[in-house]
Subunit: 498 residues, 2 copies
C-alpha cells in the first residue's frame, strides 16, 4: 500500500479498506479489535506491505488478521468431524485447499456415556454440560496441536474452523443445553448455530478465527449429515441419491435437487469400534479385512501392524465370514457343536478367537463374542430398518435409488459386498453403491474453503425434511425384521447366498 503523507493522511483502517476496495471490490470497516490493536505496529514495521485475511460473516465480511509481508500461503483452516465416538480433525491450507494432515481420537465424552442419550442425561446434571463442553474443546485443541506440531505453523496462522457433528455433539461443542433434545417433543436449542470466534469457546487457534458449526436439521439429524449431503452433491443432481452415514448414530438422507428427506437411528458404537470386546477405531493395528475359509483366517490390518483389535469394517467382514462359514447361524448365535479350537464358551459367553494372543499386538487374543455379534446385529438392523422405513415413507423402492453413498469412519476400507451380505446395506446393484469415507469431515472441509458451500449447507439444512422414526411405528417392525442375517425377509436380499 502507499504510505501516508500529509496530503493523504487517512486512518490506517481507511487506507486498508480503500486498498481492499481497489483489489477486491469489497469495502467495509468491520475488523476484529485485536487485529486493530496491532495495526499500527504491523503497518509501520512492514513498510505498509501486508497480507490481510478476511472472514465471511453471515451478514458481511470482517478483517480477521493483518500480517507483515506476503503470508498468502501461510493460512490454514481446520475441519472437524465431531462424532459421538470419534473426533477427527483435518488441517487445510486455505489458499490452495491442500490437506496438510488429518488426525483423530476417541471422543473423550464417551467416558461419560456411550451414546447421545446418555451424554444428554449427563449434561443435564449439575455442571455436566460444562464438563462435557470442556473435554471436547480440550480434545479438539489436542488434535490441532498434533496437526501443527513439527509443521512450523503457529496457532495464529489458523484462521478458520468448521465443525460438523450431530445435533447433540454440536450443542455440547458450543456449550448449549441439550436437555430438551431427549424429551418429547424433542426440541434442540438451535439448529442454526451462531458464528463465533475461537476465543469464545477456547479453541486454541487465532483468537478471532471464525468458527462455524454446520447447521442441524432436527434433534437427531445433525450437521454431520448436512455435511454429507453437501459433500456427495445430493442436492445438485436430478437423480435420486441416498446417503447412509454409519456411525454411533446411523443417519440417512435420500433426495435430489428437488427434495430431501432424512432420518436417523441410534446404531450404537459398534461400527466405530465401541461396545464390542475387541473393537477399536480404524487406526494402526485395526483388523479391517477378514477372510475365513476352511477354518483358516486371513486378515489385513491398518498400517500392516500387528493386530490390536477389530474396527468397524473388520467387524462387518467378520460377521459375514462367520455366517458364510456357518460358524454362526443367521440369527447371530454360534453353532454350539463347533469343534474348532477357536470356538469356546467362556463365562457362559460363546466366543471365537480370530487372533491368538501370541500373534496379537496387545498380547491378548482378539476374539468376537456372541454378545458382540448381538450388538452388531442391532446396529446393522437399526441402520437398515431406518433406510427401509425412509424409502417406504417416501414411497420408493431401493431400485429407484440411482446412487447410494456409504459414509462412516471406517478408515479407507469397507467391503460393500459383505456389508450387503450381513444386511447392513440394501441389496442393490454393486456399481450403484460407493463407499465415500468420512463425509462429515469432507463437508466440513468444503465449507471451510468456500463460502458458497457454507451457504449451501445452510440451504440443505433448511430444505431437508426429517422423519422422526421414534414415533413412526413401521420402523420398529422393520427393526425387528432386520435382526437376522441378512434379513428375515430373504426376498429383500436376493443376491445374498450362504
Amino acid at each position: 500500500m502507499p504510505e501516508p503523507t500529509i496530503e493523504d493522511n487517512v486512518s490506517d483502517l481507511t487506507r486498508i479498506s480503500r486498498q481492499l476496495r481497489k483489489e477486491t471490490g469489497w469495502h467495509g470497516y468491520d475488523i476484529s479489535l485485536s487485529c486493530l490493536r496491532k495495526l499500527d505496529t504491523t503497518l509501520r514495521e512492514s513498510g505498509f506491505k501486508i497480507t490481510v485475511s478476511i472472514g465471511k460473516h453471515k451478514n458481511g465480511y470482517k478483517l480477521l488478521n493483518i500480517e507483515q509481508g506476503d503470508t498468502t500461503n501461510l493460512h490454514y483452516g481446520v475441519a472437524v468431524d465431531v462424532g459421538t465416538t470419534t473426533v477427527v480433525a483435518q488441517l487445510v491450507e486455505m489458499n490452495t485447499g491442500r490437506i496438510m494432515g488429518v488426525t483423530g481420537a476417541p471422543n473423550p465424552q464417551a467416558s461419560y456415556g456411550e451414546d447421545v442419550i446418555s451424554r444428554i442425561i449427563y449434561a443435564c446434571n449439575k455442571n455436566g454440560l460444562e464438563e462435557l463442553h470442556h473435554v471436547i474443546i480440550q480434545d479438539i485443541n489436542r488434535l490441532i496441536e498434533e496437526l501443527i506440531s513439527e509443521k512450523n505453523i503457529s496457532h495464529d496462522d489458523i484462521i478458520a474452523m468448521v465443525a460438523a457433528g450431530n445435533t447433540t455433539m454440536s450443542h455440547l461443542l458450543l456449550g448449549l443445553m441439550p436437555c430438551s433434545i431427549r424429551l418429547e417433543p424433542y426440541v434442540p436449542v438451535a439448529d442454526i448455530y451462531p458464528q463465533i470466534s475461537a476465543k469464545e469457546i477456547g479453541i486454541k487457534i487465532n483468537p478471532d478465527a471464525i468458527i462455524e458449526v454446520l447447521p442441524s436439521v432436527a434433534s437427531y439429524v445433525g450437521g454431520d449429515i448436512v455435511a454429507g449431503v453437501l459433500a456427495c452433491g445430493i442436492s445438485e443432481s436430478s437423480e435420486i441419491t441416498g446417503l447412509i452415514d454409519i456411525g454411533t448414530n446411523g443417519e440417512i438422507a435420500i433426495g435430489n435437487n428437488e427434495w430431501l428427506v432424512c432420518c436417523s437411528a441410534s446404531a450404537g458404537p459398534a461400527f466405530e469400534g465401541g461396545g464390542t470386546r475387541c473393537g477399536m477405531r480404524a487406526t494402526k493395528g485395526a483388523i479391517n479385512e477378514i477372510r475365513i475359509s476352511d477354518g483358516k483366517i486371513d486378515y489385513k490390518t491398518i498400517g500392516n501392524a500387528k493386530p490390536r483389535g477389530l474396527c468397524g469394517s473388520g467387524l462387518i467382514d467378520c460377521i459375514y465370514e462367520l455366517v458364510k462359514n456357518k460358524i454362526i447361524r443367521p440369527d447371530g448365535k454360534f453353532e454350539r457343536d463347533n469343534k474348532d479350537e477357536r470356538f469356546a464358551i467362556v463365562d457362559d459367553i460363546p466366543q471365537y478367537t480370530l487372533v491368538p494372543k501370541e500373534k496379537s499386538g496387545t498380547k491378548e487374543p482378539i476374539v468376537i463374542t456372541e454378545m458382540d455379534i448381538d450388538n452388531l446385529m442391532k446396529s446393522k438392523g437399526a441402520v437398515f430398518a431406518a433406510m427401509k422405513s425412509l424409502a417406504d415413507y417416501i414411497g420408493i423402492s431401493f431400485d429407484q435409488i440411482e446412487k447410494l453413498y456409504v459414509a462412516g469412519g471406517f478408515g479407507n476400507y469397507l467391503n460393500i459386498e459383505k456389508a450387503i451380505g450381513i444386511g447392513l446395506l440394501p441389496d442393490m446393484p454393486r456399481e450403484k453403491i460407493e463407499f465415500v469415507g468420512n463425509t462429515s469431515l469432507a463437508g466440513a472441509r468444503i465449507s471451510l474453503l468456500s463460502e458458497e458451500a457454507l451457504e449451501k449447507a445452510f440451504i440443505i439444512s433448511r430444505a431437508m425434511t426429517n422423519i422422526e422414526l421414534s414415533v413412526y411405528q413401521p420402523f420398529m417392525d422393520e427393526f425387528v425384521a432386520a435382526l437376522f442375517l441378512p434379513h428375515t425377509n430373504k426376498e429383500l436380499f436376493p443376491s445374498v447366498k450362504y
Copy 2:
C-alpha cells in the same frame, strides 16, 4: 410464543426467529453464544413467555438477550462522553429514551498527562497504552456503578453503550495505539471503530451489550464533534450553522446539509476547570456566575453550596468582570496600582481573591492569578482563532452564520454575553447564539436510542472535511491576534465596550 409440540418441534432458536418475523418482519438466526446457552432454561422456566433484545450490527441484527416474562421497560443503555479532562455517563431507558441519571468524573488519565499529546506520549511508552486503557475502563465502570446503584438495575439490564470522544480518547478507550496521531502525517489507526461487545473491553454491563464508539473525522477531530453535529442537526438544515465545542480540545464545525468543514485547536483544560489555581469541574460548589460592581463581588454556585472553586463558566464571567472593572487590562495583566485588599502579589504572582477563606467551602481562599488569566487567554484565543481561521478558509464571514451552537461541559450555564466579551465567541447577534451544553453526550445518547441516528453519525464523519490548523499558517497569526481582551482587532467586536 406457542410451546413446542411433536407436530411443531422446531428448535428454540427457530421458534424465536419465526415469532420475531411475525412481529417485526425481521428474520435471522444471529445470536450471542451466551444468550443461546441460557435459552433452554429461559424458555422453559417462563413457559415460553419472553422478552427479546435485538441489537443492530453494522450488517444486520443480532439477538442479544432473552429474558423471562415481559421486561420491555427494564432495558437500559449508557451514553458516555469520554472527554480529555472529564468523563460523563448517562443512563437511559431504551424503550422510552428517558434519562435515568447522569454523572461525571475527572478523566483519571489526566494524571498521566493533561492534554492529548502528553497522553499519546505516555501511551507509546512500554505498557503505557495498557495503563491508560485500563484506567478509563475502570472509570467508566465506576460511573456506571454509580448510575445503577440504588436503582435496582442490574448490569445485565444495560444492553448497549455508545461512547463519543476525540480521536485519541477513542483510541485509548479501545486500546488502540495512538502513536501515529502525534507524528506527521498524523494518521490514526482508525476513524471508524468496530462494533464490539462489552466483554471485549471489560465494561461491566451485559457482556454481550454492543458498544459503539462514534466515528472520528481525523486525528484531531473526533467522535465528540461528530456527536455534536448530529445533536445540533447541522447536517439537516440548509442554513449555515456553526458548532463550537469548548473542551480541552476546542473543536469547531461549520456547515449545512450540503457541506461540513471542521477543525480543532488545543485549548487546554482551563474551561473544564483544569490548569488554574482554583479551577474545578462544573459540580456542586463550583462558582459558575460572577458579577463585580463597585468592588463588591456577587457569585452563584452550583447547588447553592459553599464555593469550592471556579468552573469554566465562572472563569469566563470572572475574566470579563475583571477587565470590565479595569482590575485587569485588555492584555490580561493586573493593574499594579490596585488598592483593593483583594489584590495581592504572592510569590511574584499577582492574584485577586474572589472568596475569602472564611466563606470558602475548602477553607482556602478562592483566587484567580495572573497565570490563570494568561492560561485562559490562550484557551479562548485558540478557540476564537480556530473559528476565525475556519470561516476565512471557507470564505464566509461570521454574519453568514445563521446559528451558532456553543457546547461544552459548563454545566447548565454559560453567559454568552460575557463569553463574547472576553473574545471567546464571535461578536454575533446574541439571538443567533445558543448554549447547548454537552453535545458530545447528547449525540451519544441519540445514537444509543436510534439506529438511524447512529447511521447518520457515520455519514457525518465521512462527509466532514477537516482543516488541519497545525499546518495552516493564518491560524497562528489569528491566535496571536486573539491574545487580547476581547481581541487586538477591536473591529471584530464592535458591540463589546468596557
